[in-house]
């Protein structure tokens, strides 16, 4: 066990730290995810940030060099991420591409696809989204009804997707569609890369309860996709999607990262506001703060253990789902305590000091809880796939087709 840097890591850390200080003004900073409305200006700023970091060699360090990756190690990427966090650099705007689409393409895409897409994805030249959920389906992916039909000029796609994160800013997406309506629910699906600027694609941003427009409806009206843009085999999309979902779970909380407002932001907020509280309130707030911090530390150090596993070359397994359960709880408690520390101003969306972060974070938490699988889905995954508990209903022949989905999403 060793948390110390090797000399080489220490050199990298110093170099990154220096770079981030020198390029401070070219980088977007922030107090945590989901705080700002992802409008065009903010997204452009975040894309520039990602490009600056890519150009410095700090994005996709572990990705293959031949496609624009750094050919480095997980340990190096971890050092870089720590320094990005310390310098309060905003998280990468292309997180769906980095966390889900990219790994899926690397694993299942053709050489040509990797050549064309990966480098631009890492640099946020292209943003990517994931077109899985549908209005009728919710967590039940295998129920999806968007159809892709084979024609001479490629696949014709007809259907509708929803909850597509940042689709309005994306150039490409990975799309799961039904290619064989005769097959059992989770069979007969195929994964494609879709050009979001193709004719027939209509993106309609959804307004969320926090006022933001992060999620979208995507209407697919006879969209044509060349067969060369298939990811994996025909009717093998379920297996491809599992890669995406495993990576999603790792990306969303699995690594011990924070999902809401950063805990150091909460700590400095508390340092500023605790003295204004009565003695009674201070005692209660300090206990609440301790609780948030301990949960947050538990998630963070568990993420480190998972990272160590990954550094040893293993793939993220279903146990990475566990991290998100805690991360969501921490995000909720952080927003709530941040708000309560505002005292009388906590009934308004902006305090007299102009602090809007906590009310905004509170209104964003329910969305954080949904992305990457609800608590129930994650608990089912851990319970059934890690702990070997029986599935939710008996494995009758009729239920069997549904079971793999229930277990994995």
């Amino acid at each position: 066990m060793n948390f110390d840097d090797t000399p080489e890591q220490a050199r990298l850390r110093a170099e990154v730290r220096q770079f981030l200080a020198a390029h401070h003004d070219e980088l977007a900073h922030g107090d945590g995810a989901y705080l700002e409305e992802p409008g065009h200006e903010r997204v452009d700023e975040l894309r520039r940030t990602q490009a600056v970091l890519f150009d410095a060699g700090y994005m996709g360090l572990t990705w293959p060099e031949e496609y624009g990756g750094g050919g480095g190690t997980n340990a190096q990427q971890a050092v870089i991420n720590e320094e990005l966090h310390r310098a309060r650099v905003a998280g990468p705007v292309g997180h769906v591409g980095l966390g889900m689409c990219g790994p899926t393409i690397l694993r299942h895409g053709s050489e040509d696809q990797k050549q064309r897409y990966i480098r631009r994805l890492l640099r946020a030249d292209d943003m990517w989204c994931q077109l899985f959920s549908e209005p009728g389906g919710g967590s039940d992916l295998a129920a999806l009804r968007t159809k892709a039909t084979r024609h001479d000029d490629g696949w014709h796609v007809q259907g509708q997707k929803v909850w597509t994160t940042l689709a309005q800013h994306c150039r490409f997406g990975i799309l799961l569609a039904r290619t064989n309506p005769e097959a059992a629910r989770h069979r007969g699906l195929t994964m494609f890369v879709i050009d979001m600027e193709a004719p027939g694609v209509t993106v309609r941003p959804l307004r969320q309860m926090n006022g933001h427009h992060s999620f979208n409806e995507v209407f697919l009206d006879d969209v044509v996709i060349a067969d060369s843009e298939r990811l994996g085999d025909v009717d093998d999309g379920w297996r491809v999607a599992l890669t995406t979902l495993m990576n999603e779970r790792m990306a969303v909380g699995g690594g011990g990262g924070e999902l809401g407002v950063r805990s150091d932001v909460l700590v400095s907020h508390a340092n500023r506001l605790l003295p204004r509280l009565s003695e009674e309130r201070r005692v209660l707030a300090v206990e609440a703060l301790g609780r948030v911090l301990v949960e947050s530390l538990a998630a963070r150090y568990s993420g480190y253990r998972l990272q160590t596993t990954l550094e040893k070359g293993e793939h993220p397994g279903p146990e990475s789902s566990a991290g998100k359960l805690t991360a969501v709880r921490v995000a909720h408690a952080t927003a709530d305590l941040g708000l309560r520390l505002l005292g009388e101003d906590a009934v308004l969306a902006r305090s007299r000091d102009g602090d809007w972060r906590w009310a905004s974070a509170a209104a964003s938490t329910p969305g954080i809880a949904l992305a990457g699988g609800t608590d129930e889905i994650l608990r089912n995954i851990v319970g059934e796939r890690v702990l070997g508990l029986p599935p939710d209903r008996p494995r009758t022949p009729a239920a069997a087709t549904a079971t793999p989905i229930a277990e994995s999403r």
Binding site: S133, G137, G138, S139, D140, A143, V162, W163, L206, R207, Q208, M209, G211, F215, E280, R281, L284, R340, E344, D345, A346, V347, L348, A349, R350, R352, W356, A359, A362, A363, P366, G367, A369, L370, T374, D375, E376, R379, D392, A399, A402, I405, A406
Partner: protein, 339 residues
């Protein structure tokens, strides 16, 4: 013991239910977030119908009903996120109890009042200051009334009409008003809890409807214990909240020594019950519950604000504990019977 409302009260509540479902509703609350103003149905209409003067004696132009009747109306108002809050009216009725002229003016809707929390020189965020022309406040031991400069806050829930007020004029209405002020606040807590009760009840109802129709993995989601048990817990809590609200409202008129504990118990229990019910609702709804277009967040907004108004859960839990400890101590030393 007869711990139930009677048929007349049931009819009265049904009448209020019909009225608020026509004249208010979450769609109004949503509109208000974009275009600030007074919440629906507005104080003029509430005065016209006599809802805001329910607890004002008939001699002063009011209806002369008990607080319980107002709590029944408030529950229905809460279901539809109506505004301004009946807490203001209930509080005014106590504060101006011996000011016949102003009470009559308020009853008739000629005087638009809000009650300020915190010092009159610069109040804390106070309810229903939107649309109010005059403000009641506690200045030392004096109850004062005056006009004021209003600074509206950026709302989480726009139906609460929250703003900061600085009195620009001030006239003493009553001296030595601490006890009256405290009672008015307790009464207001009961009515606020009643509004929360109605809103929480509606939130559970929407969640139950959805859980019975929405299917995933081949089953209605309400069949899954994770969903079912959360909804059950919320439903149980809402029903228990109703018991506390009714008790507290009854106590205001019939057992004033029980009011401090009952009002704080209702307010404290409401804070958590209402908030949890809304969080469950959004969770059960999934993505759709996170959208602006769905009503869920409007109940959620109300819950997030109401839990802190007129004292948060911690304040009222401490009040219940402290009052109970004192009563027991006094009883043990022979001073008093325990409540």
């Amino acid at each position: 013991m007869d711990f139930d409302i009677d048929d007349e009260q049931r009819n009265f509540a049904q009448h209020a239910r019909d009225f608020f479902s026509e004249q208010a509703g979450p769609e109004h609350a949503r509109t208000l977030l974009a275009a600030p103003g007074e919440a629906a149905p507005g104080r003029r209409v509430l005065a016209e119908l006599g809802f805001s003067s329910l607890t004002i004696p008939e001699d002063f132009g009011g209806v002369g009903a008990e607080l319980l009747n107002m709590a029944l109306v408030a529950e229905q108002a809460g279901r539809q996120l109506a505004g301004p809050s009946l807490t203001t009216a209930a509080r005014v009725a106590v504060l101006l109890a011996d000011d016949a002229d102003r009470l009559a003016a308020f009853s008739e809707g000629r005087l638009s009042l809000a009650v300020l929390d915190g010092p009159p020189s610069g109040s804390r965020p106070s309810m229903d200051v939107v649309g109010a022309t005059h403000f009641l406040a506690l200045d030392g031991d004096d109850l004062v009334i005056g006009e004021g400069r209003v600074t509206l806050g950026e709302p989480i829930d726009a139906t609460r009409g929250l703003g900061y007020v600085e009195l620009t004029s001030s006239e003493v209405v009553a001296q030595d008003a601490q006890a009256r002020w405290a009672r008015a606040r307790q009464v207001a807590c009961v009515i606020l809890a009643a509004e929360g009760l109605g809103a929480a009840d509606r939130a559970v109802e929407i969640g139950l409807e959805y859980a019975k129709t929405r299917e995933t993995f081949g089953r209605q989601i309400g069949a899954y214990q994770a969903v079912k048990h959360r909804l059950v817990d919320d439903w149980v809590a809402v029903n228990q909240l109703r018991s506390l609200v009714w008790w507290a409202a009854w106590a205001a008129d019939h057992a004033p020594d029980q009011l401090p504990i009952a009002a704080s118990a209702a307010k404290a229990y409401c804070a958590g019950t209402f908030e949890t019910a809304c969080e469950t609702l959004i969770h059960v709804l999934g993505g759709i519950g996170f959208t602006w277009e769905h009503d869920a967040h409007l109940y959620w907004r109300r819950a997030k604000v109401d839990r802190l108004l007129l004292g948060d859960e911690s304040e009222h839990l401490a009040a219940v504990a402290t009052c109970t400890l004192h009563a027991a101590d006094a009883a043990a030393t022979g001073e008093l019977q325990p409540i």
